[in-house]
Each structure stands twice: as structure tokens, then as C-alpha cells.
């Protein structure tokens, strides 16, 4: 059974075109781009070609692109670089709903003696902009705010934030891992200083990421060693994956417009149908400012892991913010930061689509889901007398 893969914010299928492009570099062209001989040295040009394609997707200059091993490394490097180049500043600002790559890194900094401000969000997942700008002071080394949230798909007003921070002369990094390839990003227009991307979220393989560093931004490397990436990120290049990422970015640029419309149609179809046929369901997050491929829904009185494992029986892949799926005992930090009642957090399901999903697949989910919800509710002691639980 082919899976109905609706978990594309977790990872995506490697595009067949990307794999084709990569294979020669895994099989025959295994040289080291730093070598003096042609066999290895010729790969240097290929890497530069891929860099141009990545820069093309972002409307950036190729020399502003640094290849890294993943999105997390990119996020960590950006923040470390910022605080490393401004050693006297001891304040970092981020949000309560960041990906762990930023959130836990900032908590780590807090333990090291940094002052960290976690900007709150409202119940639609929108950022408290006043709080953000009031938090900025002379001690602020860097602000790191995600472009779009991985769990809810809610998009933050990054352009507005970037403009204001630029006026105040504060370094700004955005984790655009979920936005890359899904939203148009034009770094000639968008005045962010640093931006992170991850390959496997846009149909390139896992193990490759990007940090964009605007020309003129002071940078200090995090991974130290050889001269690769102009001394900005040491370590022998992941040649095949870099080339794959280049191709993936080229494809993303091609599909950008089509995905924004087609995926939104599919996503809305799924969401509307489920709201209609499953009572006590709700959408989490601001649907006006949201990634076209993501919907986060809650089904009251039942628990997310149970829903996922039932869907799994039909080959449907999704994810949940419930405690039981998080690996910890606490449910989603994002949904809790939004003040979503616990009853709804535990029963939250995220569907995230990609260009490979079809309407038939969506219709299959629409067909299966109401039965799953009904059955699990039959098991549940709650919702029978419509108990309304207080938030938190």
C-alpha cells in the first residue's frame, strides 16, 4: 500500500529529478572538491552551480549562501554568530512557538547567563508585536523569529519585523525552514540579516541545510576546521546533497505559484470537509496568514496518538501535538502558547501536504476520518454530556 503522505512539514519525499541529479555524485564522481586533480576539483564548479540555484530561489547573491548539515545547524550557527560578533550584548529575543532548534538553543543560552525574551502569541498564533518591539534594547544581540510555524503553518509578519529591527540596528535571523519553497522569498526586498533553510523540507534529502548571511553582516563560524565554504563552515562538502538541494530549489521556484494555489485548494477541501463531518472539531491557528499546505485541527475528547495510529491502518501519515506523540509527557508547546484548551491540544492533528498529493488521497482521508473520530469517541468517557473543560 502506498502511503498517503500528509506529513510534509516533518519531511518530504526526495523529488525524482533531485535523486537523478545526485546519483552520479554518489556513484562515480566521489572526489573531494578541494583536491588539485580534475577528478575532485571539477566538483567545485558543480557546488557553485548549486549555490547559484539556491540563491536564485531566495533572490540572494550566491556568496551569501553557506551550505550546512541541516536546519538546526543553520539556526544554531546564526545565533552563535550574532552573539559571537557582539560579545558585550547579552540579550536574545525569540518566540514561545519556535522550533526546538531555536527554542532549546535559546534556553541553553539562558543557562549560560544570557537574558532571553520569549515573545508570546495570541490564540490564533499571531505574534505580540508590541511585546516584541518593547523587548528590544541596547543589550539585544540578535532577534530570531521563525518565518512560518511548523505545527500550525501560521506565518509571522517577517517583513515588518525586519524593517523595524533594521531601523533599530538589531541583527535579525529568521528560521524559514517551513517557508522555503512554499512562499516566495525575496531577500533583495526582505531586510533580514540571516535566514535558515533545510533541504529535506523542500524535496531535497536529509542532511543538508543552508544559512543565508547578508553581505556585510559580521559572521563568526560555528563549525571550525578546514577552509570550505570560504572558511564560514568547515567540513568536506556533502557534494551530492548540495547538488540535490540546488535542483530542489530550482524545482521549488518553478512550482512556487502552482503549489500556493493547488495545495491551498486541497488543504481547504480537507479542512472544510472534516469540520463539516466531524462534530467538535476546530482549526488551530490564523487561517488568513498560513502556509498553503498546512492545517492543524483538533478533535475534542479524544487523543492524538490514538487518531494517528488508526489513520496509520489506512496508510495515512499525519502528526499530532498530543503529549503521547511528543516523546515527552507535555503536549505541543506551540498550541499551549496559543492558549488552546488542553482538551483540544491532546486531540490535535496536523496535515501537511506537498505537490505530490492528489485529490483522491485527500478524499480518502475525508472518507476515513469521521469513522476514526466516531469510534475513538465511543471509547472516551468525555464529551458525552458536553463537558466543557476550562482552558489550562
Amino acid at each position: 500500500m502506498n502511503p498517503i503522505y500528509l506529513d510534509n512539514n516533518a519531511t518530504t519525499r526526495v523529488a525524482p529529478e533531485v535523486l537523478d541529479e545526485m546519483l552520479p555524485y554518489l556513484r562515480d564522481l566521489y572526489g573531494n572538491p578541494s583536491s588539485m586533480h580534475t577528478f575532485g576539483g571539477q566538483l567545485y564548479r558543480k557546488i557553485e552551480g548549486a549555490r547559484e540555484k539556491v540563491a536564485g530561489l531566495l533572490n540572494a547573491d550566491p556568496e551569501e549562501i553557506i551550505f550546512m548539515s541541516c536546519g538546526t545547524e543553520s539556526d544554531n550557527t546564526a545565533i552563535m554568530s550574532a552573539i559571537g560578533s557582539l560579545p558585550r550584548r547579552k540579550h536574545v529575543i525569540t518566540t514561545r512557538v519556535e522550533h526546538p532548534a531555536v527554542l532549546n538553543f535559546c534556553r541553553h543560552l539562558a543557562r549560560k547567563g544570557y537574558r532571553v525574551t520569549f515573545v508570546p502569541v495570541n490564540n490564533l498564533g499571531q505574534l505580540d508585536m508590541d511585546f516584541l518591539f518593547k523587548s528590544v534594547d541596547d543589550d539585544t544581540a540578535v532577534v530570531s523569529i521563525m518565518y512560518a510555524n511548523n505545527e500550525t503553518g501560521v506565518i509571522f509578519p517577517i517583513a515588518e519585523i525586519a524593517e523595524k529591527l533594521k531601523e533599530r540596528g538589531v541583527l535579525f535571523h529568521t528560521d524559514a525552514v517551513q517557508a522555503g519553497g512554499k512562499l516566495p522569498l525575496d531577500l533583495k526586498e526582505l531586510p533580514v540579516d540571516m535566514l535558515s533553510l533545510s533541504g529535506h523540507k523542500l524535496h531535497a534529502p536529509k542532511g543538508i541545510g543552508v544559512l543565508y548571511v547578508r553581505r556585510g553582516t559580521r559572521f563568526s563560524p560555528y563549525v571550525i576546521g578546514g577552509h570550505q565554504e570560504g572558511g564560514r563552515r568547515a567540513g568536506t562538502e556533502n557534494v551530492a546533497s548540495i547538488i540535490g538541494l540546488g535542483k530542489a530549489c530550482e524545482l521549488a521556484a518553478q512550482f512556487l505559484h502552482k503549489e500556493a494555489t493547488d495545495l491551498k485548494v486541497l488543504c481547504d477541501r480537507l479542512e472544510n470537509a472534516l469540520l463539516k463531518c466531524c462534530p467538535d472539531a476546530r482549526i488551530n491557528g490564523d487561517i488568513e496568514n498560513r502556509l498553503p499546505n498546512t492545517t492543524n485541527m483538533s478533535f475534542e475528547y479524544i487523543e492524538g496518538e490514538a487518531i494517528l495510529l488508526r489513520l496509520n491502518e489506512f496508510g495515512i501519515c499525519a502528526s499530532s501535538g498530543s503529549a503521547c506523540t511528543s516523546g515527552s509527557l507535555e503536549p505541543s508547546h506551540v498550541l499551549r502558547a496559543m492558549g488552546i484548551p488542553y482538551t483540544a491540544v491532546h486531540g490535535s492533528i496536523r496535515f501537511s501536504l506537498s505537490r505530490y498529493n492528489t485529490q483522491q488521497e485527500i478524499d480518502k482521508v475525508i472518507e476515513v476520518m469521521p469513522g476514526v473520530i466516531r469510534e475513538l469517541r465511543e471509547y472516551s468517557p468525555f464529551g458525552r454530556e458536553k463537558i466543557v473543560c476550562p482552558p489550562q
Binding site: E303, A323, L329, P331, Y342, T343, E378
Partner: protein, 277 residues
């Protein structure tokens, strides 16, 4: 993805005894929607024999919570209340072919619901959680429950307590308190130290020193990116080389003295440790 046994998966997909018993003799309700799992257990008794003739459940929770509830209802049927009370949370887990460590709290919830139902039938009051005895505020876990589950399942670490009761798995504020409870609980029966051997042959002594350095000293140093290597043993003189971050560390004298104290305690009073130059 959790590593559920086939039995857990099967039971979750087709649970037995779901529902309520409208004229139940005993009802036990534990957990809450906020904590992420809750179980309501209904029991019907035969008035003559006192045996449980029917059991049903309603569960809000993950796959293992539903499977544990189903298992519990299957296990209690045909038993008297006293017999049923002998079912431990481990028995529930065993019935399912085992549960992932982090899911053991699901089996504990089953056991608690059973106790609650039986207390309900016998008209006993379920002990109310006293103010101040609540340890984990995130998951509403009392000190009493931590002690009880720890004893029943021989739990000695905070991680185990979290896996079995959820306590400490939220904000983590209560972790030091759980540590104190565990220390208090198990210090009543401190683990017996192997007696120091009276007379050591040279071979024994060398083997013992090697073992202590390997198992007790190196892990602690390695945690700080340091290390130590045993170079030689001559009589009671032990020569060590410090490695990694220990090399050139200003505290290296203290490290050597610490190792000497440890070896004196565990091997022989006359041991002298020297750094290899």
C-alpha cells in the same frame, strides 16, 4: 513511533469491553482530560459468589492507554474483588506482551482505576490528596502515589518514576523533590556494599584497581571531557596519566588526590597515586 507489541496494537485496534454498565456495582474513575489520559472502569458483581461477571471501560488516551484498559477488563472477569486486587500494573503490561518504558503509566492508570472501583464498591473513601503532599503539579501526582508505585515496581530513578507516574515529566520543577522521596524510600534499605577484601594478592589488587578506574573514575572524568590512563602499578604505587581536558588542568592535583582517596577506600589504605611525567 512507539515500539508497541503486536498484542498492544491488536488490542488497541479491536479493544474488548468498551462502554458502560448502566447498573454497575462499582465504578472507578481516574485521570483527567488535562493530564492527557483518563479511565472510567465499570464492574458488575455476582451477588452470590462475589465474582466480577462483567467489566467495561471508557478511556481517553493513547493506544497503550486503550489497550491497557481493555486488558484490565479481560483480566478481572471471573475474579473476586480480593483476587482482582492482586493484579499489579506489571501484570497488565505483561498481559499485553510488555509496554514501552515511557508508557508504563498507562498500566498504572489501569491498576488505579481498579483500586478506585473496588473502594467505591466497598464504600471506602478514596484517600484524598492532602494539600502539600502533591508533588507534581503538572500531572497532579501525590507523594503517596510516587512512593506506592516506586515500591510496587522497584523504581529507583526519577526517569523511572516519570515513566510510571508522569511525575516530573512536565515543567520538571518537582524533580529534586522526587529525588528526595526516592532517597528517603530506598535509604531505608541501602544497597549492601561488597566488603573490602582483607588480604589481596598482587593479581587481585591490580585487577581491582583496573576495574575501579574503568568503572568508577573514568566515566566521571569523561563527562567533563577528560580521561585517565593506568600506566603502571608497583606495590602500592599507582601511576596514572591524565588525558583529554585533564591535561594541563589547574585542578589536576586535586583529581589525582581524589583518585587516590577512592582507591584507598576501595582497595587498600596504603595506596599512593602519582601522575605520569
Amino acid at each position: 513511533m512507539w515500539e508497541y507489541t503486536d498484542k498492544v496494537k491488536e488490542t488497541f485496534l479491536k479493544p474488548k469491553n468498551v462502554g458502560e454498565i448502566s447498573d454497575a456495582d462499582a465504578v472507578g474513575e481516574v485521570g483527567s482530560i488535562i493530564c492527557g489520559d483518563a479511565l472510567k472502569l465499570f464492574l458488575k458483581l455476582d451477588k452470590e459468589t462475589g465474582k466480577i461477571i462483567d467489566a467495561k471501560f471508557q478511556t481517553f488516551g493513547c493506544a497503550s492507554a486503550i489497550a491497557s484498559s481493555s486488558a484490565l477488563t479481560e483480566m478481572v472477569k471471573g475474579k473476586t474483588l480480593d483476587e482482582a486486587l492482586k493484579i499489579s500494573n506489571q501484570d497488565i503490561a505483561d498481559f499485553l506482551g510488555g509496554l514501552p518504558e515511557q508508557k508504563m503509566h498507562c498500566s498504572v492508570m489501569g491498576r488505579e482505576a481498579l483500586e478506585a472501583a473496588i473502594a467505591n464498591y466497598r464504600g471506602e473513601k478514596i484517600p484524598q490528596k492532602e494539600e502539600g503532599k502533591l508533588v507534581c503539579k503538572c500531572f497532579d501526582v501525590s507523594e503517596e502515589k510516587i512512593r506506592k508505585v516506586a515500591v510496587e515496581n522497584h523504581l529507583t530513578t526519577v526517569d523511572e518514576i516519570t515513566n510510571f507516574t508522569k511525575a516530573g515529566g512536565g515543567c520538571g520543577e518537582c524533580i529534586p523533590q522526587i529525588e528526595l522521596i526516592l532517597r528517603d524510600l530506598w535509604s531505608l534499605k541501602p544497597p549492601e556494599k561488597p566488603p573490602k577484601p582483607k588480604k589481596l594478592t598482587n593479581l587481585h589488587k591490580i585487577a581491582l584497581i583496573q576495574e575501579i578506574i574503568e568503572n568508577e573514575i573514568r566515566p566521571g572524568l569523561q563527562a567533563d571531557n577528560g580521561d585517565v590512563e593506568l600506566i603502571d602499578i608497583e606495590g602500592s604505587k599507582v601511576t596514572l596519566a591524565l588525558r583529554g581536558m585533564c591535561t594541563g588542568c589547574m585542578m589536576s592535583d586535586i583529581t589525582i588526590k581524589g583518585i587516590q582517596a577512592k582507591l584507598r577506600e576501595m582497595v587498600s589504605e596504603d595506596i599512593v597515586v602519582e601522575a605520569y611525567q
